[in-house]
């Protein structure tokens, strides 16, 4: 008992998913047996993927009751927004965990379309749908037992910072479990935390700084290839082979895992510090690589880049300056 009282109080930890695939929550489990160390230092007070704790249990917690909340997923509907605001209120430190809450992520690609187009496709046009009355989900429905609610689906996907105040960002799709453990150990150790707004668990360097492939300064290409269109030699810089790799404009920290696995970087760790637009630098760099001064030939090279917006903003469309297509 005496030993108990001298022990540091355990941290209270929450993990929540907004518009997410579940991969971020699983990445927390990917710390494997180290999870026992986490549990020794912290109580998990809310984690829908693993624990049966209801929203109403969170609502009755005192403000700032939770020490750290790892919020993964983008803000796609009213439920995501409600929980983002609720968890902000109940947490001392709110961390945007993973690409979706950091930059908008894959769900953010929905900003290339509209709510109407999505609902029309899903509830009217899809090949497996039979819906002659064109019934659409409604947020509120009266039944004899009372009123039923479902979340309101938004037209626009946002990242966490666009909805609430965020303390730290831990990028990645999903973040490397090693980085999570490093950050967590730092917090448990009681060391001074970095300034608010810092991207943690990632480096200030770029992927290229850590990449071991052979590189020269002369990056000039006559055409671009999709990874399936070319046989990668396994050792030369992807860009020099004409395969678009987001390495030059992406933070290091993941251990260049995709490139080590012979796949070009897709940019999930987001741009390096102080980039006002996540894709513009890459767009600029790729364009400069085109080995031609002739307008017609340049057009031909650009024809080999199928989907510039989707490539350069794969994980970051809601965080970009233009943010979405014009409806």
């Amino acid at each position: 008992m005496k030993e108990e009282s001298t022990k540091k109080p355990k941290l209270r930890l929450a993990v929540y998913w907004g518009a997410a695939c579940g991969g971020c929550c699983v990445s927390v489990l990917d710390v494997h047996e180290k999870l026992l160390d986490v549990i020794a230092a912290a109580d998990l007070v809310f984690w829908p993927i693993a624990l049966d704790i209801k929203y109403k249990d969170v609502e009755v917690m005192p403000d700032k009751y939770i020490d750290i909340t790892l919020f993964n997923g983008a803000i796609r509907n009213s439920e995501n927004e409600h929980l983002a605001k609720l968890l902000r209120q109940k947490s001392k430190v709110l961390v945007a965990y993973g690409s979706c809450s950091h930059l908008g992520g894959i769900p953010g690609l929905a900003n290339f379309t509209t709510k109407e187009a999505i609902l029309k496709r899903v509830y009217e046009e899809s090949e497996s749908t039979v819906n002659p009355d064109k019934v659409r989900p409604v947020p509120q429905w009266d039944v004899k037992e009372g009123v039923l609610h479902i979340p309101v689906f938004y037209n626009d996907v946002r990242n966490l910072r666009q909805v609430v105040d965020v303390d730290y960002f831990l990028p990645g799709c999903p973040p490397q479990s090693e980085r999570l453990l490093e950050v967590f150990s730092l917090i448990v150790s009681g060391a001074a935390l970095p300034p608010k707004g810092t991207v943690v668990g990632a480096s200030d360097k770029t992927q290229c700084d850590e990449c071991k492939r052979k590189k020269t300064e002369n990056k000039k290409v006559k055409r671009f290839y999709r990874p399936i269109e070319i046989k990668d030699d396994g050792e030369t810089c992807f860009l020099e082979q004409g395969v678009i790799c987001m390495g030059p404009a992406t933070r290091a920290g993941c251990g260049v895992r995709c490139i080590v696995g012979n796949a070009p970087c897709r940019g999930c760790y987001g741009p390096s510090e102080a980039a006002p637009d996540p894709g513009a630098k890459m767009l600029s760099a790729i364009a400069t690589m085109i080995d031609s001064n002739d307008p017609v030939e340049i057009d031909k090279v650009i024809d080999t880049i199928d989907d510039p917006a989707g490539i350069f903003y794969r994980f970051s469309l809601p965080s970009s300056i233009l943010r979405r297509t014009i409806a």
Partner: protein, 142 residues
């Protein structure tokens, strides 16, 4: 209310800005819709500048540089050309009319061509109508 387009123009210091200056000192008249920003080279025009101009409400963006082969920095204008072509494809994907972004070569002696360029681009933007980008982002309907 009558639509008065706003066109943001990035002009390179060595040729195009001097060309625009010539249009002014020669007392040529051209449409007042253009807002000129002098940059050292058209190669300095970062795509961020273009996106930000649109985001802040520009109805059109014009980039002018030295003629091919005449760049003060050897090949800045070629770099600009490549970026411009890729940006065109990108803004088209974002639902922005491709004609809202334009690149032209204006030399230091082409004051008249600059005045005509501003007039013709203003006409084109008037046809296209106001840009919806700022409104769309400012009023993200939920």
């Amino acid at each position: 209310m009558e639509f008065k387009p706003t066109i943001v123009a990035f002009l390179c210091n060595w040729c195009s800005y001097t060309g625009a200056d010539l249009a002014g000192t020669s007392r040529m008249k051209y449409k007042p819709n253009v807002r000129i920003i002098r940059v050292m080279c058209s190669g300095r025009v970062d795509p961020t500048f273009i996106f930000k101009s649109f985001r802040e409400g520009a109805d059109g963006v014009l980039i002018c540089g030295c003629h091919p082969g005449d760049c003060h920095y050897q090949e800045g204008n070629y770099k600009c050309l490549r970026r411009y072509k890729l940006m065109k494809k990108f803004i088209h994907q974002m639902g922005i009319e491709a004609d809202r972004l334009k690149l032209e070569w204006i030399s230091a002696s082409e004051g008249k061509q600059f005045a005509e360029l501003v007039d013709s681009m203003t006409e084109r933007i008037l046809e296209l109508g106001p840009s919806k980008i700022k409104h769309t982002v400012d009023t993200l309907a939920v």
